[in-house]
Every structure is written in C-alpha cells, then in structure tokens.
C-alpha cells in the first residue's frame, strides 16, 4: 500500500515538473489542477482503504537518501489517517482551483509548486526515517514558500515569505536536534531504531520541547506562530487553504509521530507544557483573530486557535497515557485526531470562501465588504456552514471534537498528579473561552462580510464564483455536516490510529442506537448530532408551518426601522473594528496594550472627530522585533571589522598568534 501512496506523491511531484513546461499554454492550469485533484483523491482512497481494512503496516525501503540508512517509507494507521487528511483536502482544494486558478496573473509561479507541495506533504507523512522525513518536511516548507511568493511584487508578501522561511528553518533545526538525540551517537536515523530504543525521561522531555519548537512552529503554536498570519494570507487563496488546512496538520503529524510513536513512554511524563502551550495558543489565537480586519489574516489566526485545541487534546492524551488511564487516553487522542480532520475540512472551506470573496470584491479588507449574501448566495451558505463549524456549535463537526475534548478534560480528576489536576480545569476554562470568542469572531466575520450593506462599490457588484469552486466548497460543507451528525463512523475509523498511539481505543460507537456517541459510558455522557439536527429542523419547521398556517403569512418590505434614524452611509454600520470593540476593551488592554485615541474637535469646528486605536503585538513586538534588533546590533558591531586597515588585520592575526602561544605556554 505504501508504494501506492509513494507513487502518488512522486507522480504529483512530476506533475509539478511537467507544469514548468506546460505553464505557458492556455488551459494548463485546468490540466494541472485536475490531475492534482485526481491523484490526491486516489491517494486519499488508498489511505481510506488501508485504514478501514485494518491492514498491517506496509513498509518500503529505497536505496536513496542517507546512504547507509536508505529511504524508509511506511504506511501505518497514523500515516493512513494523515494521508486521508492530506489527500482529501488537496483533492477538494484542487477542484476549487480548477476554476479559481484562472484568475492567476502569473500561473507559472503557482503551477509547478502546487502539485509538488501536495506530494511533499504526502512524503512527510509516509517517511519512516529521520532524513527522509526532514527532507520532505523542508521541501514542503520550501515549496509553500515559493507559493507564498506567487505575488512577489507586494512588499508585504516578500516580508511574509522571509519570516516564514526563517521560522521554518528554525523549526527544522529543532527537528534535526530532536532526531539527533533520538538517533544517538550511533546514528540510528531510521524510525524503527528510534522506536526500539528506550529513551531516558530527561531526553524524552528535551525531545518533546524540541518537537514543540520544531513541529509547533510549523503548526503555529504561540509564541512561534508569527509567520503564520503573515504567510497564509499572502499566498493565493487555494494555497492559503492548503497551508492552513493541511500543512499545519502535517506539522502536528510530526509531533504525534515523535512523541507518541518514536519516544513512547519517555515523552509522556510532562504533559503540562503541552497542555499549557495548547491552552495559551487557543486563547491567544482567537484574541488575535478578533483584532483583525483582514479576512485571510483573521482566518490564519483561527488556525492558531485550533492548533491550540488540538494540542490540548494531545497533552491530555499524554497525561492519561502516562498514568495508564487507557480509555481516557484513547478519548483524548481521538478528540485531537477528530479535530485535526475537522479543522482541515472547515478551515479549507473558509479559506476557499475567503478566496471567492477576495476574488469577487478585490480586497481582503473586511471593512470594504458587506451584503455579499445577496450577491453570492451559494458561497454565503457554505461559508455560514464553515463559520458554525469552526465556532464549535452543534450540529456541525467542530462541536463534536470540542465536545470530546471537554469529555476528556472531565476525566482528568482521576489523574494522580496534583499539578495536572490543578492545571486541567484551567485549560478547560480556556478552551471554553476560546470557543466562545471564536463564535463572537465568526459573528463578526459573517456579519461584516456577508450581511449588512455593501461598504464598497466592488462589494455592491460582486459576482458569484464559478461552478468548480462552488462544487468544491459545497463538498466541504457537506462533509462538515456529515461528520457532525455521524461522528460515530469517524470515531470508529480512528480507533486503529489511537490504538497504535496510546495502545487503546474508544468503545465502538456505531453499534449504539440512533448513532449516538458515548465516549466512556452511556450514563456518563452522550451526544447525538443527528437527533439534535432532526429536533431543531423539526421544531423550526413545525413552528414556521404552524404560524404560517394559523397566524399570518403577510410580509411587507420597507426601509429599515433603526429607531427612526435614516440609514445612509454604509459606514454607519458596525464594521470589523467596531464589532470587536467591546472584546478589545475587555481583553485587549491587558494582552495587546490597546489604547484608543479620540480627538474631538472643539465645539463649532467643522473638522472631523478622529478615532485611532493603537495596539502592540506582545509576541511580535516584545520578542521577535527585539531579536531582530539584537541581530542588527551585533551585525553592526561585527561590520566594523570590514573597514579595518591591513595593519589592523595583521594586528588581529598577531594577537591570535600570541594568544595561542600563551595558551600553549600555560598548558599543563
């Protein structure tokens, strides 16, 4: 089976190479995206068949890569799950791009890299030795970097790409260090060797921290997330969807692979750090998102938030597994995996929707949109589905995985460790806060972008996107719903994965009546998305029918009431910034040092009043800018050495010589 996935990945890469030749021709983008969609879909099917057939892991060793190790590839349950995530997501995004890609001004800056990027992500997932893994990982970064640079003429894009690749390189360095520790001085770089060695707890802890830096920076955990909200929006929308929806998952795959599979026991004794990082990431991500008015940037920050939620699940799984609470560990792990799947679906959907909106309005600034629900009926529906799903509201899929995470948190009082027991409720509270803030944020997004009145002429005349794009988004929306109302099937399909990672799986769900999910025991908790949906649909229809039948069905269109004020300029509507104002005041003053400056003209003056908000990004301004400044300062100091006279250079050599001679003299 692994050879099929590998073949698919390599074919995708060749497609990338081929499109260098094709790129000039008309219709090239259709062919490339169509072929990418087909290949990704096939690979996803292979992964699905593998996962459902419970086949034993399939391996392959090629005589390339690190010479004395070779390139190992392996398809096991975990890899298969991520192959599905990558393959399915890419297939849908590629279908979207068949239509969307037409608008690309310079297709040759996207086409060669796009299929190769998918291929590289697949390679990361099936790699089974450190070198192949890192090679694919970094190629993945590199290709996405090239994709980010598709619109390289904008200064913001260039600086985003710069930050992105530097952070990616930093992450890779951390990964190399981690694998160096795992391989040991003998250089056992294949994963089988790493699995077989029992590491010491200290080493395990260092590796976990390194993985948090390495994989976490790619996934976007706070405070290493800074590149993400810059790079994801800078790329063309289908690439943003790919990076946010899928690539971050591949990063999490890296974390899971190392901490649960390769390290095993040695990694699990300190889940506090993972939990804390996850909780902070979730809350900070959504707070950042609330402060944005660039649609894609906002969505990118929501990726940060969801990564935090996933890490909370992973941290819980580590904690439970360490204390041998196997059922709980399985629950937490499934919650994390389910959320990975869900996020990949709805975040892709939202980014694709954002792409459609950007295409229709020519802007990413939410303050220039509004009223698109009238102009883009289908997009507005699917985007609404995505918004509900990401806000973790029933009956869509986002709710199910968060619900599972909450259930896992509620099992934590049985943990024997005090620190964890005190930490977990706090984490639960943060998770709830993040979820509530996310809902607020998506009310803002949907309300400002799709509802209300158009704020610009482009928004007023926006056109619905093409059929390919709509079809792709519709598929994703349907998946959001299906995963929300039939979660049992997903959970059962995930059980081999959780078994492989935490040696236990959740009880079989699909045998429960009415497809209810009961993670631990029926007396403890259960949820049935299907019934909830049916109840809501039923009672809403009943109420509507009853009222229309027995009361009135009259309807008259009239100007908005608005307490008698006359609606005029669309600017009087609540915009992105004004919507966020209450939350900005509540949370922003502490976190972002928000200051609102109001300058009121004197009475009688005709000058406009001015309102300005300043805020500081605590991570970027407080940390990264300072590092940059430090490097600059050092570089300036070092740079003086470029301008010495020959005599001074000789003096340096002479000093070094005398110094070394002195060392020799003073030695022993």
């Amino acid at each position: 089976m692994v050879n099929l996935v590998l073949g698919g990945a390599l074919l995708l890469m060749m497609l990338g190479l081929a499109s260098v030749v094709l790129a000039g021709r008309a219709g090239a983008s259709k062919i490339v995206y169509g072929a990418s969609a087909l290949l990704s879909a096939l690979v996803a099917v292979v992964g699905l068949v593998f996962l459902l057939s419970l086949a034993p892991s399939s391996t392959l060793i090629l005589p390339i890569g690190l010479p004395w190790i070779g390139a190992h590839f392996r398809l096991d349950a975990l890899a298969a799950f991520f192959v599905i995530v990558v393959g399915f997501g890419s297939a849908i995004i590629s279908i979207y791009s068949i239509g969307y890609g037409r608008h690309e001004a310079e297709p040759w800056r996207v086409l060669p890299f796009y299929p190769s990027f998918i291929g590289a992500m697949l390679l990361v997932v099936i790699a089974d030795d450190a070198f192949t893994f890192l090679l694919s990982w970094e190629v993945m970064s590199l290709l996405s970097w090239a994709l980010v640079l598709a619109h390289h003429r904008e200064q913001a894009v260039r600086s985003a790409s710069l930050v992105y690749l530097i952070m990616a390189a930093m992450g890779t360095m951390a990964l190399i260090l981690a694998f160096g520790l795992l391989a040991g001085p003998v250089g056992g770089y294949d994963f089988d060797h790493m699995r077989s060695v029992a590491e010491s707890p200290l080493l395990g802890a260092i590796v976990v921290i390194l993985m948090l830096v390495g994989a976490g920076s790619k996934a976007g955990i706070v405070p290493l997330h800074v590149w993400l909200p810059q790079a994801h929006p800078a790329a063309p929308s289908q690439v943003s969807a790919m990076m946010s929806g899928i690539m971050t998952k591949v990063a999490i795959y890296g974390f899971i692979r190392v901490t649960f599979d390769l390290l095993g026991g040695a990694a699990w004794w300190m889940p506090e750090i993972v939990l804390a990082v996850g909780a902070v990431t979730a809350v900070m991500g959504v707070l950042y998102a609330l402060m944005q008015h660039d649609l894609k940037r906002l969505l990118a920050y929501h990726t940060v938030e969801n990564i935090g939620i996933i890490f909370i699940g992973l941290g819980l799984a580590m904690a439970f597994r360490h204390y041998d609470m196997n059922a709980a560990a399985a629950l937490a792990m499934v919650a994390a995996l389910f959320h990975i799947l869900n996020h990949s679906v709805f975040k892709s959907l939202l980014f694709l929707g954002a792409g459609a909106v950007q295409n229709a309005t020519g802007s990413r600034d939410m303050e220039e949109m509004g009223g698109l629900i009238h102009r883009m009926p289908v997009t507005s529906v699917v985007f609404l589905v995505g918004s509900i799903a990401i806000s973790a509201l029933p009956p869509f899929n986002g709710f199910v995985s968060e619900w599972l995470t909450f259930q896992a948190i509620l099992l934590s009082p049985d943990l024997p460790d005090w620190g964890l027991r005190i930490l977990t409720p706090g984490v639960g509270g943060m998770l709830a806060l993040a979820a509530a803030l996310a809902a607020a944020c998506f009310v803002k997004v949907y309300g400002v972008v799709f509802l209300g009145r158009a704020r610009s002429s482009q928004a007023k005349t926006a056109q619905e996107v093409d059929r390919w794009s709509l079809a792709a988004m519709a598929v994703l929306a349907v998946v959001c719903l299906l995963a929300g109302i039939f979660p049992g099937f997903v959970i059962d399909a995930l059980s081999p994965v959780s078994h492989a990672l935490v040696q236990s799986s959740m009880p079989v769900q699909t045998t429960d009546p009415w497809l209810t999910i009961t993670p631990v025991a029926s007396g403890r908790s259960s949820y049935n998305g299907l019934l909830v949906l049916l109840f809501i649909a039923g009672s809403a229809s009943f109420a509507a029918w009853a009222i229309h039948r027995f009361a009135s069905r009259g309807l008259r269109r009239a100007p908005a009431w608005d307490c008698g004020f006359v609606l005029d300029a669309p600017n009087t509507q609540y915009g992105a910034a004004s919507f966020a104002q209450p939350i900005r005041r509540t949370f922003g003053t502490a976190v972002f040092r928000v200051v609102e400056h109001v300058s009121m003209p004197r009475p009688g003056s005709t000058a406009p009043a001015k309102f300005r908000v300043t805020m500081r990004d605590p991570v970027w301004d407080g940390f990264f800018v300072r590092i940059g400044g430090g490097v600059g300062w050092l570089a300036d100091k070092a740079n003086r050495l470029q301008f010495l006279t020959i005599r001074k250079y000789l003096s340096v050599v002479f000093t070094l010589l005398v110094l070394l001679l002195l060392v020799l003299t003073l030695w022993n």
Partner: protein, 482 residues
C-alpha cells in the same frame, strides 16, 4: 599502462604546459578553448585515477583516499569554471574591461593556479606542499588585481600581504614539523615526507607538534579564510574576475583546508599532543557566527557570497574538529557540496553582475521576473547553500548537527544559531535579488548556463542519492581523519 605518464604526472603536466602555451599564444577564441581543453584534460586525468587505480606513494607524490576526493573535485570545478570563464571573459573583452594582453596573462595564470593547487594536493612532501600553496596564492593575487581599478589593486595588495604573512607562519610550522620528525626519522628529505611522518607520529615530541600546529593552522587557516584571519577573502572575491571568485571559493579554500587536514591527521596520530579538535571547533564556530553576522550588512553581491564561503569553511572546520565517522563524513560531503554550489552561485552572479552592470545588492531586483533562468538558478543555488533540501548541503548539515547534539549539546546549539543567522541574512538578500519589481537592465542575456546546471544537478543528486562507492570512499576518508 601504455601511457608514458601516469595520471599524476598528467594532472601536473597539463596545466604547466598549458600555462606556457597560453602565455605565448595570441587570440581570444583559441586561448579560451585551449584553457577549457587543458582543464578538461586535467579533469580526465584525475578521473582516470579513479579508474586505473592509484600509484604507490613516492617521495614526492602521494595519492590516497583523502586527496583523490580533492583532486577530482579540484580539476572538475577547474574545468567548469574554465567553461564559464570563456563566456564571461568574452563579455569583459566586449565591454573593454580587459585588454588582450591581460587576457593572455589571465589564461596563463589560470593554468599556473591550477598547477599550484594540483601540486598541493598530490604532493607527499610537506615542504613542497608549502611551495605549491605559495605558488597558487601568488597566481591568484595577480588575477585578483587584473582589473587594475583602485579597488582591485587594494584587494590584491591586502590579499598579498595577509597571504604572505600567513605563508610565513605556515613555513615556520613546517620547519617545526621537520624538527619534530628529525630525531625520529633522521636528517634529510625523508623527514618531510608525509607517508613517513604519519606512522611514526606517535614518537614525535608532542610539544613541538603542538607549536607547529598553532603556526600551521594560523598560516593555512588564513588561506582557508577562517575568522579572524579572513580579511583578504571578501575583497579578493569581490574585486577579481568572477571566474576567479568561483575558483577561490570553490577550490583554493579547499586546498588550504586540505593542508590543515593533513596536519590534523598528524596531530591525532600522536596521542600526547593537545587535541586539535577544540581549536578547530572554536575557529569554526567563530568563523560561522562572525560571517553570518557580516552577511547582514553586505551591499555587494560578490562580497556577500564571499562571506558565505567563510561561513561554510567555518562549518567544515567545525565538523572536522568534532571528528568521528559521522562528522568527518559530513565535513567532507559539505566541502564537496560547498565547492560545487558556491562556484555555481558565482557563475550566476557573474552573469547577473554583467547584465546589471553593478555588483550592488540594491541594484539587483526581481531577477526571477526579468531573467527567469538566471534568477531561479540563483534562488536554487542560494537555497542550496543555505542548507535547504533536497540539496547536498542539507544532508551534510543534517549529519553534523544530529551527530554533534548528543555529544556536545551546547556546541550544537551555537552551531545551529550560527546557521540560522546566516540563513536569515542570505534569505533576506535572496528575496531582494530574485523577487519584487525588477530594476536595471531587463534585456534577455546569453549566458552559459551549462556549468551552472551541471553543478546544481550534481548537488541535487547528492542530496537525494549518494552512490554506494562514493559513500564507501568517503567513509574510508572519514576513518582516515579519525
């Protein structure tokens, strides 16, 4: 062998004869072809060493696993650089920066330099090695100053003075090695033959060896370009003709490094000496971090990549300083990859600077738009040199870091910090060069892309697949280095 000469003699003889011929023959077309042909012939002779087997070491010549790597690499890059040089120099003649007289001088010096470097590599006598390095240095000094602009002269002067002092220190080190060997091996030339020195090194006076190594690493280290002995290197790279920059970065640094490695072997063979490792590690790290910082403020594209060479020499010296089979393997691999990649970068930089008529970083913008082939080649080259996969440098850096971390975690962290610093600077510049709105001359250009593609192809191949025999060979060398 039906040949009258063995490959070793050919490797030395061809450049020597070619140098004489080139000094007297007129005409640009002929001489540049002759230059390419002679370089190709030397490369073939070196390649023949791989095929026909190695001659037994004599008092003058030694071919072992270590230097055969260097010889093949040296002659290969010498050949591709000659190809590039043919296209490059044609443009220089057109624009009048070089006159035919100087051209003749240039070609002759090119072969003299190749002769010098080949001699360093194949000789078995540490005295002869010193002479050859001096020869290579002097020939490159003359080439650096060939444009006769104030900047070029100044660069050459600086190179000459610093190089001479370095060479003097190296001579003192060489004398000291002889002094250490003389009581054991007896008086005379035998005590300067490397293959005699190595097996008996354990009996030498360890303290003299220590002292000798201090002088040798300072002397030859100047040639390697280790900070703070590097001062000549950036200017020499920036002001000389670009083929020479490519050869300097790709070859001369390696050749000097080879000399350092030979003496390091001698040191490690004597268990009572101070381990050379810590000194090399320190100098390697200092070079790495210093060069990485210097990259940030560069405004001249060739000087930028010159500092990048210093950085990579730091990496290689660090790897060899760490020692052990993995690090040594990685160091060797890195050296080969750096030679190929850096010379490829200089090939593209040469054309770019000719197109734009400037080496100023601020005047080179949006190359992937205006000159896609050159621009993307530069992108690929810089990414490769910055340690991005799927190129060979990534493999060597991967091995160095991962093998170091479990042995010396703090060193590995400093090393990683240095790499990241350098990466940030290079990427920042690269973004400026390759992307954004293009500036300056936007005319398409006729460039000789073949050497570039060959180099990058090899680097790419090595990043993904190293042939088995080559691995075995590298591993043997790694063991040799201890």
């Amino acid at each position: 062998m039906s040949f009258p000469f063995g490959p070793v003699e050919l490797i030395l003889g061809i450049p020597a004869v070619a140098a004489v011929l080139l000094a007297v023959l007129p005409g640009y077309r002929l001489t540049s072809w002759l230059n390419v042909g002679a370089s190709l012939a030397s490369f073939l002779a070196a390649a023949a060493l791989l095929v026909v087997g190695r001659p037994a070491p004599s008092a003058f010549f030694l071919i072992d696993e270590l230097n055969i790597v260097f010889v093949v690499l040296n002659t290969f890059v010498g050949f591709t650089a000659a190809c590039f040089s043919a296209a490059y120099i044609a443009h220089e003649l057109e624009t009048g920066r070089l006159t035919p007289v100087y051209l003749r001088f240039y070609h002759a010096m090119y072969q003299v330099m190749m002769f010098g470097m080949n001699l360093v590599l194949v000789t078995n006598n540490i005295g002869l090695m010193w002479v050859a390095i001096e020869l290579a240095t002097l020939s490159t000094v003359l080439m650096v100053g060939i444009y006769r602009t104030p900047e070029a002269l100044e660069a050459a002067w600086k190179y000459f003075i610093l190089g001479s002092v370095g060479i003097a220190l190296a001579l003192f080190g060489t004398i000291l090695v002889y002094l250490a060997a003389q009581p054991v091996l007896g008086e005379g030339a035998a005590a300067m033959v490397f293959t005699n020195l190595l097996p008996r090194a354990a009996e030498f006076d360890p303290m003299i060896l220590n002292l000798a190594f201090v002088f040798l690493i300072l002397g030859y280290g100047t040639k390697v370009g280790l900070a703070p002995l590097h001062a000549w290197l950036p200017d020499a790279h920036a002001e000389g003709p670009t083929p020479i920059s490519a050869v300097l970065s790709g070859l001369l640094l390696n050749v000097a490094l080879y000399a350092v490695l030979r003496f390091k072997m001698l040191m490690t063979a004597n268990p009572e000496t101070l381990a050379p490792g810590p000194l090399m590690i320190t100098m390697g790290l200092v070079s790495l971090i210093f060069a990485a910082l210097m990259l940030y403020r560069r405004r001249d594209i060739k000087r930028l990549f010159a500092y990048s060479s210093i950085e990579h020499m730091g990496i290689i010296v660090f790897a060899f300083g760490m020692g052990g089979p993995l690090a040594n393997f990685a160091g060797l691999l890195h050296m080969v990859m750096h030679s190929l990649t850096k010379s490829a970068i200089f090939f593209s930089v040469g054309h770019i600077a000719q197109i734009k008529g400037s080496q100023k970083t601020a005047e080179i913008r949006g190359l992937t738009h205006s000159h896609p082939a050159l621009g993307w080649a530069l992108v690929v080259g810089v990414l490769a040199i910055a340690g991005m996969p799927p190129f060979g440098v990534f493999m060597s850096e991967f091995l160095i870091i991962s093998s170091t971390f479990s042995r010396a975690p703090f060193l590995a962290l400093i090393f990683v910090a240095g790499l990241l610093l350098a990466f940030g600077a290079l990427l920042m510049r690269l973004t400026g060069f390759a992307f954004g709105e293009p500036t300056g001359n936007l005319q398409p250009v006729k460039a000789s892309m073949a050497p570039l593609y060959i180099h990058m192809g090899l680097v790419l191949l090595a990043g993904i697949y190293l042939p088995g025999p080559m691995v075995a060979w590298f591993q043997a060398v790694a063991r040799l280095l201890g």
